[in-house]
Point group: C2
DNA sequence: CTTTTATACTTACTTTTGGTAAGTCAAAGA
DNA sequence: TCTTTGACTTACCAAAAGTAAGTATAAAAG
């Protein structure tokens, strides 16, 4: 049983803190859909993420080594993102959650309605 | 390939949006450690969550039907929380991520340092 | 009999995180 | 010369989360 309250030293806290922001897990999922993706492709695929937050999310994932960023020196700019081996390892774990989501969404929506009544 | 940009209709977005806040996944993990838990127990186990946010997180999880909340009419108050069957289904999926975290934390910390240099 | 303690919250206020819209850069095309 | 293109950046505003204090009530302590 890990010591969740020791935030610095606890791997679980360390990783969950990084995944527990508004966009990170979704960005990983999206990147898992194709070999590599350009900034605007990811942006369109998600739809409602701001450019600012997409930039921030991608930079953090890059810093952790979960994605790689390749800049082509052309104009207009071209930048390709893809999951690293490490990132690809994480992908199926998040994907399992999305499958669970597909199976249980109806139930959850129902529960929410009950609760608000 | 689901339509992530249709936030209302997409189960993945719907569930990820709920899990993608600062504390939800960690609260589920902690509740998975014992049969049931009282408010202050959860609070101490996590350590740095505020009482306010713990209340908010628990209420949302309750609304979705992932945890149940039992109030004993005593003074001082006693309230017990535990995962429902639905919540217990989700637990191993989050737990798999924490195991991945344990395996790769060193590498990730190393990557972060490299990036900031 | 007054004060303290215990537990699970609220509430008012501040800080951090995220959203919005406009701007930047440099070359190619009209 | 003016517009378009793509990947951002920036200044400013809104939403989420943190902080510290307060609430309720009865039993136990002094």
């Amino acid at each position: 049983m890990s010591d969740f309250s020791n935030i610095e030293a606890c791997p679980v806290r360390n990783v969950l803190d990084r995944l527990s922001d508004k966009w990170t897990m979704l960005v990983i999922l999206v990147l898992g859909e194709s070999k590599e993706m350009r900034f605007n492709e990811i942006h369109k695929r998600i739809g409602d993420i701001s450019e600012k937050m997409l930039t921030v999310s991608l930079r953090k994932l890059e810093a952790d080594g979960l994605i790689s960023r390749e800049v082509y020196p052309v104009i207009p700019p071209k930048v390709e993102y893809k999951l690293t081996a490490l990132g690809q390892e994480l992908l199926p774990l998040i994907d399992t959650i999305t499958q669970w989501a597909d199976r249980h969404m109806q139930q959850i929506l129902h529960n929410r309605q009950q609760y608000n009544a």
